[in-house]
Amino acid sequence: MYWNWLKGGSALGIAFLLAVVLVKPIGVSTQFVILDGIIGDTVNDSLVVKDQQAKKGYSSSNAYLNKSGGKYAKSVAHPLNYSFIFVASMILGGLLGRMFQPGTGSVKIKQIPEVHQRRFGNSPVARALIAFIGGFIVLWGARLAGGCTSGHMMSGMMQTSISGYLFAVAAFTVAVPTAILIYKK
């Protein structure tokens, strides 16, 4: 069983508050770019280079990694940074969360969501394909928006950011009719 809304909401609120009090607001989607950069830099060593002229000390041949004085380029060159390790640690959090979940921790996880099964059947390939396409669109959109559900919606609205409110309205305005149409019974 999942936590009720008040217990869950309190835990979620405290996680976001602790992060901003101790370090900075939570964000996730930027780290997909950083991981891409790390992979890219392994394949092509000249993607990110040390650069005394750059504000952050690194520059990149890719315009996106190079923006804001090479901020992302620096994170690619130093993967052991706060934001990247934070997101990597979320995998461990998910693992522990499920492991110690009363009742369900030891039960094998249902790989195909029920809503998917009702609409598209039991093929894991179809589910993997939909998840892949969804992931592609979500991250392309999150990068255009400059943040995702964590950074814009939660951290943003927590700070009363106009970008956070408008991002939330835009996302739900499309997501609700899409979910109703795709997963109708």
Binding site: G9, A63, Y64
Partner: protein, 184 residues
């Protein structure tokens, strides 16, 4: 020290997302189809509680406002948010919950993340040609917030406006309390 905090806070955040059901595509799609509002109530309560305590703490001088970081408002926030909304409803994952779901052993989450790495990579390659288009046009003066913070341009610039944020936070908690678990 930074890395230790990253491990502690990241693990905690992942743990909480799993326990509220956010790593479960059935719960996400249920919320978006308006058939199971449990997660929406939790999110409203989460934002409300964190925001009320944050602004209350800053007003009382016990929270350092220097850690705030307000994101710029520009046209792309709207278009990107709409695209994210589509992919979110299709897959039942957003970036953070996909990462958490991978930790719980969901194989579809791995494909979501691989797709996400692809989408982010394509965006990186396209950025050079997007950066001078209308999509990057700043709105509301860029780093805009509703109330006064140390790091933004406030729409309501009265010195007492942070109390409005505390009020909005409490209002969100009340909305979470009043929302039904199901409306359809």
């Amino acid at each position: 020290m930074d890395i230790l905090l990253a491990v502690i806070l990241g693990t905690m955040f992942g743990f909480v997302l799993q326990r509220i059901g956010a790593g479960d595509p059935d719960k996400i799609i249920g919320m978006l189809r308006l058939t199971d509002l449990h997660l929406m109530r939790t999110i409203f309560a989460g934002i409300g509680i964190s925001s009320a305590l944050l602004f209350q703490g800053m007003q009382a001088g016990v929270i350092d406002p220097g850690h705030l970081s307000v994101k710029t408002m520009y046209t792309g926030v709207i278009f990107g948010g709409m695209l994210l909304g589509f992919g979110w409803a299709l897959s039942g994952f957003c970036p953070g919950t996909g990462v958490v779901a991978l930790g719980t052993g969901r194989l579809d989450a791995l494909f979501f993340i691989l797709g996400g790495l692809g989408g982010a990579a394509v965006y990186m390659l396209m950025y050079g040609s997007l950066k001078s288009t209308f999509l990057m046009q700043k709105l509301f003066g860029g780093k805009a917030t509703l109330v006064v913070t140390a790091k933004s341009t406030p729409l309501l610039d009265m010195s007492w406006s942070p109390w409005i944020a505390v009020g909005i936070g409490i209002l969100m908690l009340i909305i979470a309390r009043l929302l039904p678990e199901k409306i359809r």
